[in-house]
């Protein structure tokens, strides 16, 4: 039987070294809520498991250039228990709060939710809408990337061999801006998103939308940042007409599949509905901010 090695490095450099030395056969462990299931089902058989939870940088939450730097191994529950973050980025908090059960929340990490590269990951559209970036460590040192650059397809990322995710950066919250995330699942809990929609928008003094970012999950091989949705909102007063245009643009952007969780027809229709509903919530929040 193949022996699986395990390492729990305490520094980014040590982790990179371990990953590089192991070639492709190493896998990063943070919350483990995806990796352990995949190992059990035989989907992944790593030679080496690198537990990154003992690296301080990956566990930290700190303010940085008016925004926030959040370690990649921070669990959803930790994000949502933070005294300030959920109030500043309620949409992102909503998304993290939807990832699995209470039990999963205490383990599943923000970095893992992104790097597992599921098209249905709840946090990804919310982070895209928020304009979050991430920091990646690797043999060539650290680099910054936008969230939308990470996932390239189901289960696939742009991370090179030896690279791993260290932290995220959420920008400063602009005045008159707000965000929201909604997803659809068949039950009230415990399902994978059939459709997800994240909206982050800014309105000026007379209620006109000056900027917007809209991202959709589970309607394409990767989460989508939809420019047409943003354009449907920017420059409008976010009236019913604009919201209708947003919904139409969201549905138009969908490239979904039929599967055990939903149909093409359903995902396409509901993507528009959720984008519209999320925008309405984001608007409420923008007005009171």
């Amino acid at each position: 039987m193949k022996q699986i090695r395990f390492a729990a490095p305490t520094s980014v450099e040590e982790a990179v070294r371990l990953l590089v030395d192991a070639g492709g056969a190493a896998h990063v462990l943070a919350g483990g809520t995806d990796l352990l299931v995949q190992m059990r089902s035989g989907l992944r058989r790593p030679d080496l498991i690198v537990d990154v939870k003992r690296i301080p940088e990956l566990r930290a939450i700190a303010q940085e250039d008016g925004g926030w730097r959040i370690g990649a191994a921070v669990a959803g529950a930790e994000f949502n228990e933070h005294p300030d973050l959920p109030a500043v980025w309620p949409g992102v908090a909503e998304a993290f709060d939807l990832i699995g059960s209470t039990q999963i929340q205490g383990r599943a990490s923000l970095g893992g939710n992104l790097c597992n590269a599921s098209p249905a990951a709840d946090s990804v559209p919310a982070m895209m809408a928020a304009g979050a970036t991430c920091r990646i460590a690797g043999p060539g040192g650290a680099r910054e990337a936008n969230i939308e650059e990470i996932c390239t397809g189901p289960g696939q990322t742009s991370l090179a061999q030896g690279e791993f995710l260290v932290s995220f950066h959420l920008p400063a919250r602009a005045v008159g801006s707000g965000d929201a995330y909604l997803r659809f699942i068949p039950r009230t809990e415990m399902d994978i998103a059939v459709v997800g929609a994240g909206v982050n928008l800014t309105v000026d003094g007379d209620g006109q939308c000056t900027s917007a970012r809209v991202a959709l999950g589970a309607v394409a091989p990767t989460a989508l940042l939809v420019q047409e949705c943003a354009e449907a909102l920017i420059g409008t007063k976010l009236d019913d007409r604009a919201m209708g245009a947003l919904a139409a643009a969201a549905s138009a952007a969908c490239r979904p599949i039929d599967d055990k969780r939903g149909t093409v027809e359903f995902r396409t229709k509901v993507a528009g509905v959720l984008a519209r509903r999320a925008a309405a919530i984001a608007l409420e929040r923008a007005r009171s901010n």
Binding site: I4, F6, G32, S101, T102, T188
Partner: protein
């Protein structure tokens, strides 16, 4: 196969065990330490029957590696009662018949205890969502949710 030597604390007791890299905390509890109160219903984090506390957080022990317990503090169903004194939740589950077959009961009690420790006055909705990761196929949840709400009320009163 070289096993890892793990030093941890389980239900307040310093504990050591040997495990392989891929063994989950649930495997270790059940097979190495004979703490069979935590149940395996799915091994994928979907049923909550293996719920334990890890460093004060509610987790599915089937989604934690045994190795990750190194230096940690683990609380299982076996540690909920104080000797022969039942925890109020255990007493209320009995009084209100909040169990039928009983296979999910340890997970529910560990999860509900975690809820009451952070929220002494939860609403019915809060209880239902907190416990959504614990499946019960016998009761329809009605008596379980009532038992948790009534325990909370009793503990607030006490």
């Amino acid at each position: 196969m070289a096993k890892h030597h793990i030093t941890t604390t389980i239900n307040g007791e310093p504990t050591e065990f040997l495990c392989e890299s891929q063994q989950t905390l649930l495997d270790v509890l059940r097979d190495e330490l004979q703490l069979t109160g935590s149940k395996e219903g799915c091994a994928s984090g979907d049923c909550g029957a293996c719920s334990v506390m890890l460093n004060g957080r509610l987790v599915c022990s089937c989604l934690v590696l045994g190795i990750e317990a190194e230096g940690a503090s683990v609380e299982t169903i076996e540690g909920v009662a104080d000797g022969d004194r039942l925890h109020p939740l255990q007493q209320k589950f009995l009084e209100e018949a909040a169990l039928q077959c009983g296979i999910c009961t340890p997970g529910f009690i560990v999860a509900a205890k975690a809820l009451l420790e952070r929220n002494s006055n939860p609403t019915e909705t809060e209880v239902r969502y907190w416990l959504a990761g614990n499946l019960c196929r016998c009761t329809g949840y009605d008596k379980i949710v009532r038992a948790v709400l009534d325990t909370a009320a009793e503990m607030r009163g006490a």
